[in-house]
């Protein structure tokens, strides 16, 4: 079993959805049943692989990559097909494998206009492969390919199945991200040319990787895209200012994806116009590619530059928290409000990252998963509300607890989770991040970070404000005349139950057992924090 998993585990997990997409191509457009079967079967198969991997994962050794695959790929530029799973990737892999099948189930009867389930599900399967690949890739070029491949399916999901302004939103989403990617790939290429082999114990670690590295000497050109090799190198041989510029390239690439203030404006449009399924995947998984990139790539590979950038990231993160919350207060559309809340919530994640401490990074990993579940659920609910009311104008809604009590309840729990109520998942992404800011990594400006801590704590008040006002205006009260006797407004159907209850359970379970993520990601992020001196 272990043998099989070691060789094929990660590859199958990544490519099973893609295989599903290929199978789907062969199915005629009319046989919807078969299409849906494949659409659900492939992610589930990947999920089974994921479960097998997680069951066989050595949790005592979660700081090291496991089930590694290392194959020659593009030999010309020494880029290899390297995959690996460690405590940092595992929660995000689990999140992706968890969310996608639920999205498919939700779509069972909800394939948005203009229909065409075949194309819709094919894109979704391609997207899943790309997302899983991004979290498992251990080579910069491979990561970049997966990272970019996520763009196209999402572009089409928004552009074809989206709302009224889908064209503008999809183009904006695509170009914004591409703009960042351009800088990111430049940064990667620069690393390739500039990084050198380190000296001291790091050299031993590098040599232990074998292959080209086996007999490298300190100061040799690394000429590698391998993340491990580059991490061991730790930007050895790169001048500080150069490293800061390279980090800047990655900052743009990842920061736009997160999105960080002031690069967030693609997000409300993309979310609002995307079909429910697109919003859910976007919020639950795609945004995490940005934060994951910071933790996996930017910080460990460029530790010195990370320390220089940390205050800027921290400041932008807190601006994002406050600014995003204020933006939420101004929204009149439920979905747009939820979208804006992502700006605020991802601010906490970025604040945790900017502290460069183990606690902060760990909080960030938790925050990613928690935000994925909670905001995913909120988007699901917004989609179902829209389907029933044909509007998301907050002013016209109201009395959801009367018209659809169970949905109203679930919205309530999701709201509470989103505002960071302890006992639900959201709290563990938020509070530890604030806590970490009190005592950032050695060498960072303590006074600045403590100010950020207080501002971030104030952000929790605003979060409670916009979320509870949203809940009050949508769920409390009695339905307006317009919708009072609308037979279209029914309580949750079976597909919604199947799709949402696992998320709900996840939110509650993580709320009471935060160790499920903290304990797994902890050792992995601690290594990173140590490498930057946090």
């Amino acid at each position: 079993m272990m043998n099989f998993l070691n060789n094929w585990g990660l590859i199958l997990t990544i490519f099973l959805p893609l295989a599903g997409a290929l199978v789907m191509m062969a199915i005629p457009k009319q046989s919807e049943g078969a299409i849906k079967l494949v659409a659900l079967g492939a992610p589930l198969a990947a999920g089974v692989m994921g479960i097998l991997l997680m069951l066989n994962f050595d949790y005592g050794d979660s700081e090291n990559l496991q089930f590694m695959v290392n194959k020659n790929w593009i030999e010309l530029i020494n880029s290899n097909f390297i995959l690996g799973l460690d405590g940092l990737s595992l929660p995000l892999l689990a999140l992706t494998l968890f969310i996608v099948p639920l999205v498919v189930i939700y779509s069972w009867q909800h394939v948005p206009n203009p229909g065409n389930p075949k194309a819709f599900f094919t894109l979704m399967l391609v997207l899943e492969t790309a997302m899983i690949g991004s979290f498992l890739a251990q080579d910069l070029i491979l990561f970049f390919v997966f990272f970019e491949v996520t763009l196209l399916p999402m572009y089409f999901l928004i552009g074809v199945w989206g709302g009224e302004q889908r064209r503008y939103a999809s183009i904006k989403f695509f170009l914004y991200t591409l703009f960042g990617s351009a800088f990111m790939i430049v940064a990667f290429v620069a690393l390739y040319f500039l990084a050198k082999a380190p000296s001291g114990p790091a050299l031993e670690q590098l040599r232990a990787l074998g292959g080209n590295y086996a007999d490298m000497q300190a100061g040799d050109q690394l000429r590698s895209f391998g993340m491990q090799a580059l991490t061991y190198s730790g930007a050895a041989g790169i001048a500080k200012t150069t490293a800061i510029v390279i980090f800047g390239g990655m900052f743009l690439g990842f920061g736009i994806k997160v999105p960080m203030f002031p690069f967030h404006t693609w997000l409300p449009d993309a979310h609002t116009q995307a079909p429910t399924q697109g919003s859910v995947i976007l919020a639950a998984v795609l945004l995490k590619l940005g934060t994951y990139g910071f933790i996996r790539i930017a910080i460990p590979i460029l530790p010195v530059a990370a320390r220089a950038w940390a205050p800027i990231i921290g400041i932008l993160a807190v601006i994002g928290i406050i600014y995003g919350a204020l933006g939420c207060l101004a929204q009149t559309d439920m979905k747009r409000l939820i979208a804006f809340s992502s700006v605020s919530h991802m601010g906490y994640t970025m604040l945790g990252i900017s502290t460069l401490t183990a606690f902060g990074l760990n909080a960030a990993v938790f925050g990613m998963v928690a935000h994925g579940l909670i905001t995913g659920l909120l988007f699901f609910i917004a989609g179902s509300v829209k389907e029933r009311y044909h509007t998301l104008d907050i002013k016209r809604l109201g009395g959801l607890l009367v018209s659809a009590p169970k949905m109203g309840w679930i919205l309530g729990i999701a709201t509470m989770a989103s505002l960071g109520l302890p006992g639900l998942a959201g709290f563990w992404g938020e509070f530890p991040a604030i806590l970490a800011a009190y005592d950032p990594a050695e060498g960072l400006n303590v006074a600045l970070f403590r100010t950020l801590m207080v501002l971030a704590a104030v952000g929790t008040v605003l979060a409670a404000g916009y979320l509870l006002w949203l809940y009050q205006r949508t769920a409390f009260g009695t339905p307006s005349e317009e919708f009072a006797n609308d037979s279209n407004i029914t309580d949750m159907n079976k597909f919604e139950w199947i799709a949402w209850s696992p998320i709900l359970a996840g939110i509650v379970i993580l709320g009471f057992f935060p160790g499920l993520i903290f304990n797994v990601a902890g050792p992995a992020v601690e290594v990173i924090a140590r490498s930057v001196g946090g």
């Binding site: 207060l329 409390f476 903290f518």
Partner: protein, 768 residues
């Protein structure tokens, strides 16, 4: 010991009750109420058993620990949940290893005490014999206070963060056991009361489910072993109160009140979060309450950090315990069902703030330098709240609002007590107040039950004394207790607080001299007596002014009232002053003995002695309040004062201030919230939509423009023309490209890769 290590069962029972009611309640014959009552009953019994065990445990003092005995505070603390305990355990092992023969001075002292006790009773040392042995040993040391408390802390690993383990567990000592009993008792009575009171409610089952969850959260909070756990409990209590205050959420005022409660508390929670974080680092990265208290007590934490930490936590107390200036949510919280108000005001939610200060007392005691001072933030806030809250009660028509402001005011008494160092007095007042205030709230519920669900005592009540005798008598007793009439419970606890200020001439043993506080508290006590008399007048005397024919409530309502009124009357005997030496030995200061910790994790506070003159003064103040109000309302005396506000501008001015609640609501809701929700939020949104997006769009347009230019001038004329001269077809294709979105994508993709190639080249050449 079993009860102490398994005390988690009590909150777990209530949490289970919540789930059972939620999922199966509607299918039960009594719609889930029976589940709640059975579970809270069981929890109450367990709490009583735990309390009994605690008393035995306190009396049982096998090692004869004196207050200085280091081991006492830590002997039953699981080393995995306290680094201080872990260090002590390690040090102890080491010492054992070295075979400490004579031991240090302290150890020797303990040893001799033990021997003395053994000799005195000539009984073998053992668990069963020790209680017998104790009095002799203790007497030698000159009083019960000399015996160190042995808290029992147990925990399990909650989660790990790098090399750090964060635990979750229970801390059992007199303070937490006290709250266990109070919370479960009040909750049980509220459950019983509610079966009648909210009978036939639209969400009867949900109501009971949330009562269970509320109780569970409060118990979880009370038993917290670390501050992180306290945050969890604190917030869960808050969300339950949100759900219960907004129970009838169809009506907007109710959901407004619920939101206000939650949001105001969130403001205070900023202080809680920051305070806990500051103290976490101050205690050497530990959330453990034992660690924090011991380190603060021993002077291991800098005064500045303790001051900052305590000020932050005071903000949290201000919101949770309804202290000025974050008290505004509390009166509005009356929108919830009345039994919930009783629960919130007597046993859960609002006492959480007081409890937290008491729990982390060394932080406040050292941080605010309570000892030997005459003013500090905590006592000042408490005293202001006590007085100004009481004043607001005078202008309320709604009987529940009178009681709400009364709670605000009484919490002010408790907070002042904590601020002046009268720790036991604060907890004692919390204890007695729980009974009579719950009785008053439930009594108000009983009144409204009879009067068509109105709480307006001025317009819809009156003359109910004869119609509702049980409600009347219990209400009267509770009122007298609240007013501090001798010898009811309120007298004893309030007198202790007044003595604790140390301001009254001749009072001995107080921690400081808080003159301003004494004056303000006496004024507040006077007001309390007067406004409660006003309530009695409006509700029970005069002519009935409401609709229909009122009637006495049924037994499920009156029985809890009778129980609470009786407890409110007699609860004072548990802490009679030590000065009463005419009483048999062991009858005084029982409460202090069992509840107040002695030892490493609690500051060495001193206790103000009983002062007969002060006691007489406080009774006189209460009686004069009652008397003057009696003359004014019942006898129509002071004719000139009646309707003064209509005639006199100055009086009208002050009345206006009171009616508008000092304009705090206006300031918060209209000014602050209005500004944030309105202009500020809109400005932020405008910035996104215009400045940032404007830039983005400009960049996009420029890019498209230059792309077009390149396309027209370079691509079409140079490249295309040169290659195959099919300009016309290509331009047609190009136009199509420009029109379709995909076309643009390709254009951009091409630009993108060109840019990458160029930039990468530049990079390598320039930097490499």
């Amino acid at each position: 010991m079993w009860f102490f290590t398994h005390v988690w069962i009590i909150p777990a029972l209530m949490a289970l009750s919540f789930l059972l009611i939620l999922f199966f309640g509607k299918k039960m014959p009594k719609k889930g109420a029976e589940i709640g009552i059975v579970f809270v009953g069981a929890a109450f019994v367990l709490a009583l058993l735990t309390a009994g065990n605690w008393i035995a445990w306190s009396d049982d003092n096998p090692e004869g620990y004196g207050p200085a005995a280091e081991g006492a505070a830590l002997a039953n603390v699981d080393p995995s949940c306290s680094s201080v305990a872990a260090e002590a355990a390690a040090a102890g092992e080491e010492a054992e290893h070295k075979e400490g023969k004579a031991g240090a001075g302290k150890a020797g002292e303990n040893h001799s005490t033990k021997e003395g006790a053994v000799a005195a009773t000539s009984a073998p040392i053992g668990e069963s014999a020790a209680p017998l042995a104790k009095p002799a040993g203790a007497a030698e040391k000159g009083g019960y206070e000399e015996v160190a408390t042995r808290p029992v802390v147990s925990c399990v690993n909650w989660f790990e963060n790098g090399d750090q383990t964060i635990s979750i567990g229970t801390l059992v000592d007199g303070q937490s056991v006290l709250l266990l009993v109070v919370v479960t008792l009040i909750s049980l009575l509220v459950h019983v009361f509610s079966t009648d009171y909210v009978h036939g409610d639209r969400r009867y089952t949900h109501y009971f489910a949330f009562l269970s969850l509320f109780t569970a959260s409060m118990l979880f909070f009370v038993l917290s072993e670390n501050t992180l756990q306290m945050i969890v409990g604190w917030e869960l209590v808050g969300v339950c109160s949100f759900a219960l205050i907004g129970h009838w959420w169809e009506e907007k005022p109710n959901s407004d009140a619920a939101l206000k409660a939650f949001l105001t508390n969130r403001v205070g929670d900023v202080g809680l979060l920051v305070g806990v974080i500051v103290l976490y680092f101050a205690a050497g990265k530990s959330f453990s309450i034992m660690d924090l208290n011991i380190l603060a007590n021993e002077g291991e934490i800098s005064h500045t950090l303790l001051l900052i930490g305590s000020l932050c936590l005071i903000t949290a107390v201000m919101s949770k315990s309804g202290q000025f200036i974050l008290h505004t949510w509390l009166p509005d919280a009356m929108a919830g069902p009345t039994p919930v108000s009783a629960l919130i005001h007597a046993a859960t939610m609002v006492v959480a703030g007081v409890y937290m200060v008491a729990r982390l007392y060394p932080v406040f005691f050292e941080g605010l330098s309570i000892s030997g001072s005459s003013v500090n933030a905590l006592s000042m806030i408490g005293a202001i709240t006590a007085l100004f809250g009481a004043l607001l009660a005078f202008v309320q028509k709604d009987i529940k609002k009178v009681l709400a402001y009364s709670t605000v005011s009484q919490l002010g008494f408790m907070v002042t007590a904590l601020g002046v160092g009268a720790w036991t007095a604060a907890l004692f007042h919390l204890f007695t107040h729980a009974f009579f205030k719950a009785c008053l709230f439930l009594g108000a519920g009983s009144l409204s039950h009879a009067c068509h669900h109105s709480f307006n005592m001025v317009d819809d009540m009156g003359g109910l004394r004869k119609i509702m005798p049980k409600t009347f008598w219990t209400y009267l007793v509770a009122t007298a207790a609240l007013a501090g009439v001798f010898p009811l419970s309120g007298f004893w606890s309030k007198d202790e607080i007044l003595a604790g200020t140390g301001s009254f001439p001749g009072t001995e043993g107080a921690n400081g001299e808080y003159h301003v506080m004494l004056v303000m508290l006496l004024l507040a006590a006077f007001c309390t007596a007067a406004y409660m008399t006003r309530t009695i007048w409006y509700a029970f005397y005069g002519e009935y002014r409401g609709h229909g024919t009122p009637h006495e409530s049924g037994p499920r309502i009156t029985t809890p009232l009778i129980i609470l009124a009786s407890l409110g009357a007699v609860a004072g005997i548990v802490n009679l002053p030590a000065a009463f030496d005419f009483l048999p030995e062991g009858a005084q200061t029982r409460f202090e003995h069992y509840v107040e910790p002695v030892g490493l994790y609690f500051p060495a506070i001193s206790h103000a002695g009983f002062n007969p003159l002060l006691a007489v003064l406080s009774v006189a103040v209460g009686l004069s309040g009652i008397g003057l109000a009696y003359l004014y309302f019942f006898k129509n005396a002071f004719a000139g004062l009646h309707g003064l506000a209509e005639r006199n501008k100055a009086a009208a001015f002050f009345k206006n201030i009171l009616v508008n609640k000092y304009y705090f609501d206006w300031l918060y809701t209209t000014v602050i919230v209005g500004f944030v929700k309105g202009p500020l939020a809109r400005a932020a949104n405008w910035f996104s939509a215009n400045v940032i997006d404007g830039t983005v769009n400009l960049v996009g347009k420029t890019a498209v423009g230059s792309g077009n230019w390149v396309y027209k001038n370079v691509d079409q004329k140079v490249v295309d023309g040169a290659v195959n001269g099919t300009g016309s077809s290509a331009s047609g294709f190009g136009a199509m490209l420009r029109l379709t979105q995909t076309g643009r994508i390709q254009q951009y993709a091409a630009l993108f890769f060109a840019a990458v190639a160029i930039l990468a080249g530049v990079f390598v050449v320039v930097i490499g």
